[in-house]
Amino acid sequence: MKPTDIAHPDYFHKVVDCQWACPAHTPVPEYIRLIAAGRYGDAYMVNWNSNVFPGILGRTCDRPCEPACRRGRVEEGNVEIRKPVAHEHGTQPEPVAICRLKRVAADNKEDISARLPKAPKQKNGKRIACIGGGPASLTVARDLAPLGYDITIYEADPKAGGFMRSQVPRFRLPEAVIDEEVGYITGIGNIEVKTGTRVDSLKKILAENYDAVFVGTGAPRGRDLDVPGRAEAAKNVHLGIDWLASVSFGHIDKIGKRVIVLGGGNTAMDCCRSAKRLGGEDVKVIVRSGYEEMKASPWEKEDAIEEGIPILNFLVPKSCRVENGKLTGMSFEKVKAEYDAKGKRNLVPTGEAEQFFECDDVLVAIGQENAFPWIERDAGVEFDKWNMPVVDKVTFQSTNPKVFFGGDSAFGPKNIIWAVAHGHEAAVSIDKMFSGEEMKDRPLPAVTVISQKMGIHEWSYDNDISAALRNKVPWQDQKLTLKNIKVEVELGFDAKAGFAEAQRCLNCDVQTVFAPKLCIECDACVDICPMDCITFTENAEEAELRTQLTAPSLHPDQDLYVSEKLRMTGRIMAKDEDVCLHCGLCAERCPTGAWDMQKYLIKMTHAGPGCRKPQRKAA
């Protein structure tokens, strides 16, 4: 293998699995250390800069970081450490509770308002319209307003927030948190939010001579059910996302006693838990697929079950039964999963009799779709055969150079953190466009790598690995939460539990950096490494090299860090990054300082001077 190019920003970035997996590339270990140090405000600001909505995301994020978290892989096979403890979930290896730590920062921070950007006195004269007041538009506004752009956000609902406000129920995300974090953005100054203003024509917006238009209108159309009886039962069959929005805005405050929720995604979980709070006594979720294949996040399924909501799998809706003009129940066909030669799943009927479930109301949460009835097809924005706008994957620009898309409206339904990531990128494009630069020419992120050595065996991070299991977030008493839809279920970690959980983080951003010229091949690092990550061996091609490692390579997607040839023996150092604890013992045991622990911080390229070509200063 060729020696690893650690100067490339991506190499060490990938080692920080959580940050690499985060669409907005939030520096997770950095803010977790700040939480452990009790510097909640600083931790909050690290988050705010990356993901804009730490308090909201700390409660609702889809957390792509957690399945990626190294801690889960590290605890694998360590049964003796995962001794069952009464209050713990179990003995499964589990990642750090990254998402809920974000909330710890948000809940405990001091007043950070003075640290937020303000609109500059000198505006740049550019006016940007953001259609839709959700996370994508708000991110664009936050990134551009402090640079002197004047932003106008059009929001159909009474308050900005989009999906976060209309669809995420209040028992998961209190109104005050949304108001606070949306307020941080609108408080910048030069952002006007036109609430209650539904845009029904892109042409009209373009006619108002905005310099650019950002479309962040989400995926606003719930997919409907098409079965016999659906039309007759219309009064009691509701589209999940519309129903949730009506609940959020107080238009609906009750539902029938027996409720069936159709669908297996996170919206279905929000629907069933909301129904339980609005008078639903017998609420059940009925899903076509098996439990494991359901789209909902595992924890959201668990939370629904925890609240006494059964999830019935492998049942396909067949018909609604309506008696005397009223819905009385639904029939389902039992199916099973069969896999064809290509591994594709087919749901085939088992041949059993149809199952009938009585109900008073049905909530349909079987998917969301994009819809752009308000964009005239001759407004210069090209649409593809699926009726989706043609959007550049890097710049988020549409075929109308002035119009950009982001969030769910760009590439279909995803989640808040992806919307934020899109918003950042679209803001970069807009800023480059008005700086007269090539939009596709995007600078690499800025990276700093700094040694953490403080003394002979002292590091500026805590390298004593905690063997503790994942802490469970405490819940409010169900007697309270199931009665009132506005009572938040999760109480969040207190400072003590937050600290304990923060200590589970392995500090993957503190990188093991190897200087081959200093190595005397004494094997001290190989001997001390608790995870057997390090090997000194003859060089070979990657596949071959992976078979020569001290411990077997379990995840080929995890990189090998390979040095150049060593001076004395001509061997190379190969480190499997997979399960490194970043404990720094290799560096402590190294007599020559060939190993060093260096903190890698990456500053993603956001709109502003960082995304533009360096300007030569006038002499």
Partner: protein, 351 residues
């Protein structure tokens, strides 16, 4: 050394051996030796060898004297018996322990100061008595604990860290072991575990006095230019006579070698020692030639490593003095005081 204990977390694939222990179970306390000390690599090799041989930790006694090397038994086999003796007196204590309980595996760990200076007599007599043990000398040529004075194994003319040349002749422990008929004699380098681990395994399985001289660089006081026991010097002057593969009896012998390249030596317990020749005409079963070869190469400035000598017929102290098969510490009153009838019989035999 490190301030932190090694984290208990281990690689997910870490597996137990036939005795039910993982490699990590054979570890000891965290080493307090200098970072990069060769001794730590030897500890790691002992751990690896014991794990591979499925050794029951409680059937091992590790004994040592005084010095950096003699501290190391604290850093491996944390669940085995240990005895840290007076300086240079480990061989006597080991001999005594072995006589009392012949069933344990005896691991004597010593250094060049402990065995070649203050304990030279003990070393010699323990070898010549043929005590069944693995005697490892962690040989760095300096007194590390007292800041780097030459030890008795330092090469004449080699340079100390302060620039002083050594005026004295070195004690050649390998030569003495051969002379005094250790039945297994090897030399290795702490920086080459591929060589060291099979040698330790073979020595453990050898039923007689096994001696391994391990050149183990002292990073703090003997790893400079002019030293003959530095990482660089040993790598440049290492003249390995052979490569040993230790093959347990249950393993199948698969690799093919051209005739003449390999010597297979069957052990008593059915295991095999397979030696890949590196030096042509080196015969590890010929003690006299071995002595000559080691001396010859040493005179040429080379450090001969590998399995240097293996006696075809190994015997040990218990055979020489005809002790009973049962360990002495397990004999009860019935065996030790057989009664007046037995005494009469003995007395009659002496009349």
């Amino acid at each position: 050394m490190t301030y932190l204990a090694k984290p208990k977390l281990h690689h997910p694939s870490l597996a137990p051996n036939a005795a039910g222990y993982t490699r990590r179970d054979y570890e000891g306390k965290i080493s307090t030796l200098c970072a990069g000390c060769g001794h730590d690599s030897i500890s790691a090799s002992i751990i690896q060898a014991c794990w591979e041989l499925d050794i029951q930790p409680h059937r091992v006694a590790k004994l040592s004297g005084i010095g950096c090397s003699s501290k190391t038994p604290d850093y491996f086999l944390g669940n085995s018996h240990g005895f840290n003796s007076v300086h240079g007196r480990m061989p006597s204590v080991l001999t005594g322990a072995n006589l009392a309980n012949r069933d344990l595996l005896y691991l004597g760990v010593s250094g060049d100061g402990d065995s070649a200076s203050i304990g030279l007599g003990q070393f010699a007599h323990c070898i010549r008595r043929g005590v069944n043990m693995v005697y490892i000398v962690e040989n760095n040529g300096v007194y590390g604990l007292t800041k780097g004075q030459f030890s008795a194994t330092a090469t004449k003319g080699s340079k100390s860290k302060r620039g002083v040349l050594n005026p004295d002749e070195p004690v050649d422990l390998v030569g003495m072991a051969l002379l005094l008929r250790a039945t297994f004699v090897a030399r290795a380098f702490s920086g080459d575990k591929k060589q060291l681990v099979p040698l330790i395994k073979a020595a453990i399985k050898h039923p007689g006095p096994s001696f391994i001289d391990v050149i183990s660089p002292c990073v703090a006081f003997n790893n400079h230019e002019g030293s003959t026991k530095s990482y660089d010097y040993v790598r440049q002057h290492n003249a390995a006579v052979n490569r040993l593969d230790f093959i347990e009896s249950r393993e199948e012998i698969t690799a093919d070698y051209a005739p003449g390249e390999v010597i297979n030596i069957a052990q008593h317990d059915g295991s095999q020692l397979r030696l890949r020749k590196l030096a042509a005409d080196y015969d590890p079963t010929d003690r006299i030639k071995a002595m000559n070869h080691v001396q010859e190469r040493a005179a040429a400035g080379e450090i001969v490593t590998g399995l240097l000598y293996l006696a075809s017929e190994a015997a040990d102290l218990h055979q020489y003095i005809s002790t009973v098969d049962t360990p002495l510490n397990q004999l009860g009153t019935k065996e030790l005081c057989p009664g007046s009838a037995a005494l009469e019989k003995i007395n009659a035999g002496l009349r």
